[in-house]
């Protein structure tokens, strides 16, 4: 069996009809008891299991997924990875993620295609340039890479953008993070699943949690469509359904669910080599390795659990895209879809204990869960293994709301993240 991926094994397997490849993961039945249960087989849940095993030696772990691995927001996003945030706490979190992503392909022996092609956040006026300067300075001070670009420097990186001075929002410059980029979203889930599986984690698909079992106020296990499973600690990483699980278990969250749409065009030969985001137009895009333009924008304005989008936001986002890069008007849209995202009052995630003892939550990533997968898993694993926060996750505890310590990136930087 070929377990290890490399050009050599590929060569060998090619010669023998690829019959020797080991399964990427097993399909175990749930055991009655684990040290840790991770609810949710998306990126964060899988990363949590992976780091539990790898960093903490906790391998008696089950990941319970109600559908298929990576079937939630992990497989429905626009694949952008970046750490261009304003507050030190955010930068620490997201930059940890970027650093982990940088080595993840090798570590997992699975090519997640992290392409550090850089990201432009366009500034369209002098006040926006001042805000961009504030942002770039903050990022540099917080220890991540950032540059303030003028219009000519933006043009060099993305010549297809609209540089006309009479554009609705003319380009004055941009913030640039060179280490930002994109990755193949499904591969992140699969690579982590395979990695966790190889370390002994049970990844159990089609296993929906139907109830949380508590004894003396403490969560001791879950009831699932495939039987009861117990554990010392339970972690929930179920973005999109965080409130549903909270209701089952009896804790509360400051989360509202919204649909976030994404779009992909027909494949084109390369037209843009970076990720370009215009807050003014409310649109960002990049080009996948396959050639499709991957386009995203703001949330639908109606709270929703329906995994589908609505025309008004499509008109806003795609209309904005064309204003941003008029030559794309004639390019055809291939497909659009929506994920359900957890939106918190400050657009920052929640990592920490829930009000139910023994049950911990990783949620509230809003539109930015994908970029945070390795860090979210890394920190959540720390929490589940030790029962205590890692320094980086501490500011993201739900307790911040009562204390007024919100980490409101949108308000701070003028950019809705």
């Amino acid at each position: 069996m070929s377990k290890r991926y490399s050009a050599l094994t590929l060569l060998r397997e090619g010669l023998r009809g690829h019959r020797g490849w080991a399964p990427a993961w097993h399909m175990p039945d749930p055991k009655p008891r684990y040290d840790v249960i991770v609810i949710g087989g998306g990126g964060h849940g899988l990363a949590t299991a992976y780091y539990l095993a790898k960093n903490h030696g906790v391998t008696n772990v089950a990941v319970l997924e109600k559908g298929w691995l990576g079937g939630g927001n992990t497989g429905r996003n626009t694949t952008v990875i970046r750490s261009n945030y304003y507050y030190p706490a955010s930068t620490a979190l997201y930059d940890l993620s970027v650093r982990l992503y940088e080595t993840l392909s090798r570590e997992l022996n699975f090519n997640i295609m992290f392409s550090q092609r850089g990201m432009l956040v366009l500034a369209h006026s002098e006040p926006e340039m001042e805000m961009a300067a504030r942002q770039v300075n903050a990022m540099q001070l917080n220890g991540t890479d950032a540059e303030l670009l003028n219009a000519d420097q933006v043009r060099k990186r993305a010549p297809l953008l609209n540089f006309a001075p009479d554009a609705r929002y003319p380009i004055h410059g941009a913030t640039w993070q060179g280490r930002a980029g994109t990755a193949r979203h499904d591969a992140v889930a699969w690579g982590l699943a395979r990695g966790a599986d190889q370390l002994g984690v049970d990844i159990i698909q089609n296993c929906e949690v139907t109830d949380v079992i508590t004894e003396a106020g403490r969560a001791v296990g879950v009831a699932t469509t495939r039987g009861e499973v117990r554990a010392d600690r339970i972690g929930a990483a179920v973005a999109g359904h965080s409130s549903v699980l909270a209701k089952l278990a009896g804790y509360t969250l400051p989360i509202q669910s919204y649909a976030l749409q994404a779009f992909v065009s027909e494949p084109l030969k390369p037209v843009i080599d970076t990720v370009a985001f215009s807050p003014a137009y409310g649109t960002y895009f990049s080009q996948s390795d396959k050639g499709g333009l991957v386009i995203g924008g703001g949330l639908d304005r109606i709270p929703s659990y329906g995994q589908r989008g609505n025309l008004p936001v499509q008109e806003d986002v795609l209309g904005g895209l064309i204003e941003m890069a008029p030559m794309l008007a004639k390019v055809k849209l291939l497909r659009h879809w929506a994920g359900i995202v957890d939106v918190t009052p400050d657009s920052s995630p929640i990592i920490g204990p829930s009000e139910v003892e023994g049950l911990y939550v990783n949620c509230g990533w809003g539109t930015g869960g994908f970029k945070a997968i390795p860090a979210g898993g890394y920190l959540f694993a720390h929490l589940l293994a030790t029962g205590a926060h890692h320094e980086i996750s501490r500011p993201f505890d739900k307790a911040r709301f009562a204390g007024g310590h919100l980490i409101d990136e949108g308000a701070a930087s003028g950019i809705a993240h």
Binding site: Q140, L318, L328, L334, L406, G414
Partner: protein, 932 residues
Amino acid sequence: MTGRRTESGGLIDRGTTLRFRFDGRAYTGHPGDTLASALLANGVRVLGRSFKYHRPRGVWGAWFDDPNAIFDVALEGNEIPNCPATTTPLVEGMEARVVNAWPSARRDVKGGLDLLHRWLGAGFYYKTFIWPDWHLFEPSIRRMAGLGALDGKEIPDYVADQIHDACDLLVVGGGAAGLAAARAAAEAGQDVVLVEDHPELGGGLYRSGESVEGKARAEWVTEQGATIAKNGGRILTGTTAFGVYDHGLVGLATERGFARAPRLTRMRARRVVMATGALDRPMTFADNDRPGVMSLQAAAEYLTRYGVLVGRRIAVLSNNSAGEAAIEALRAAGAEVTEADPGAGPIRALGGKRLSGVRMGEKRLECDTLLVSSGLTPVVHLWRHAGGKLDWSDEKSAFVPGAAPQGMMAIGAANGTFDLEPALAEARAAALGKPAAPTGNSYSIRPLWPEPGTKGRQWIDFQHDVTLKDVELAARENYISVEHLKRYTTLGMAGDQGKTSNMAGLAAMAAIQGKPIPEVGTTTFRPPFVPVPLELYHGARRGQLLNPLKRLVLEPQHRQAGAALGEYGGWLRPGWYGPKPADQAVRDEVLMARKTAGIFDGSPLGKIEVMGPDAEAFVNFIYYNTIATLQPGHIRYGFMLTESGAIYDDGVIARLGPERFVISCSSAHVDGVEAMLESWRQDGNDPDRLFVHDATQHWATVTVTGPKAREIVGALGLPLDLTRAAFPHMTLRESDFAGSPLRVARVSFTGDVSFELSLRATKAADLWTALIDAGAQHDAGPIGIEALSVLRAEKGFIVVGKDTDGETMPQDLGFGIPRLKKKSAFVGDRGLHTEAANDPNRRQLVGLTAPEGSPTLPTGAHLVTGDRPRSEGIITSSYFSPTLDRPIALALLERGAARQGETVTVWHMGQVRTATVAPPCALDPEGGRLDA
């Protein structure tokens, strides 16, 4: 050369010849042709290359189900990438080029990639390119990938037309069932819209037999169309229903010609009848992707719609009864047709770019064209968009519409009703909202699905080069859920979005797992049904009409005065006046305002009236500051907070009478403040005792500010005593100017004596002119918002959103008293007492001075501390003060209020310098100028 044009038949106009080129060679066709039909008529067989292996490809389908023939097409200098040849109507002069192949589809230099196929199977890229680094490989992979090339040019006037529409019944599909349904509904008096994506009505009818209800096909179609129209029904041809959205909204895209943007109709339909027909399924066998292997139904379509006979010696492999009419028609057109049994043993297509035959088990059949059908798949995309369920039909070997989404019915082939008569009956019943009585079914099919483990390369997804072996590999590696299968192999993700591949992929996975197909699942179909230009979503809301600016009533006067206009808070406003360079103009305006006076158009400032018996209590609740004690004729500065205690807006509120207030919020916040006031009014207050009227745009406001302001306003000769004693700072007087009510307020955003004069907008030009004329007597003149920004910064006055961020609370700006003293409830009160609000290290507003002779501090710079610099503040506003002849700045700094005189480090783009903490107010801290 195998295909040819027939002598007669089809919907094309043989009397007119159209010239076009493909891959550099000249061809001809006729109106009514698509690029694909015209090329087939010219005997061209290789119309494309596959995405990965660059295999030569012919066409599979005749309409939106073709995954193979994709061209970049230019016409009269306009080029559009990725045009499907099968749906692009031929136009004289078209220049088509195959995508992703060079120099031509026929001779593609990358054709050799196919030799490497055994290493380029599903997901190979996940298993390699890891060492040394993905970035090394990615650029060349990107260049290899992609289909069409964007020429980088915009098409002139490429603007989508966008409209709203509504109807009782939307019938999607103008085939026999759709026509019958639309006619029956129209005759029953319903407001019917029928959409058909072909340029002509008739759908699949042309290929399905000679007559309908005793009439020739064309005659029947014409009659239905005419009757629909006569009864008030509307028919939209060239129109695709591309998506079904919530609450009965269907997106329609209407073609308007090559290089013209389509029309978007947002159609609100009470009911939708889906008559979208069914598609022929490819058959999975070795080398089933060879040019010349084609859908049987498509071949009939080429013949009957386009007058093209796709082959001379035709072999047919079909497992179902639906193709009988097609075979008959092909024979009648002169083809030699041999029907073969697809179950007779392993099948393999023979030949390369030119098909030479087909082998079935031991048997070999010579042919130039192999027409296949492994059954009909109802086109149920819209059904799924709307949330409808699908049921598996064993009888039809297909998914057919099951539980219906609200307001939707499926009829005809889309509903699995493949026979004409029952389809018509079903259609007529559906028109009236009724289900049809069940009828017999003549369609017979012998299940024929991919057989895992069989030999040869058997294509499942043609464009994306996904073969049966790839599905087997995915299964072996446990990518067995349908979505994993799709994503791992890219099956169904190509331009046709799985129209030809989903069923085969599903069936292959089912067979591998030994499960029935419905247990493996269905896949979700997502809009758009076919790719549509991005422009469809764009339309007239572009350029100036995207988030259009608000315009000042005095804009003509400002333009005449040479104003430089710019966008400020959603308004187009004068930044400065005159031809001088901006910096100089602004400096001169500041100096003028300080020396004599500046005249400023402040019209966008809010004027929201709050009236009624509960008005006083209400504004007292809305404001951070105590407003209840404000006397009529007086004005107070105050903050509105969010419930978390952060500053949302600042401004003044004036009391006009006991039960009447005017809120002058900041220009950009008028709509937001008004909505916020209405929310609180209706939530927790008695809306019968409290009314909010936004009168902002009734008024124009001209502010005169500066030492000569009193003289200049005095020159208007208002019936008003302007003396300091009679009209003190922070009071308001109602007066009259040229017969119109005039409000004069003494408020100041500059620290100098100021009068804010508000008059109804249509009279404002007279006021402006009078003030400018009066000002001229004192060497005073207009000032723009840039000068005002400097003037207010000299005084340490903030601009919310610039000098505050989402965390700033009033106590951070030195307005701490209401927080501690105000007894009654107000918005944000509790938020001002959280742990964070009480943090001694909060960032507070300060001024900064730069060392003698140093340049202006950069806005956006941070104030830092420590060896590994940590941000402890930000510079929010920074200007060179012409009045003080030195740089000034405002900043938010941790514990700033207590750090006056301290030297701080300013950090900007890696460079450091120093500044000294100062009070925010740099000019006239005693306020002497205000009442001068």
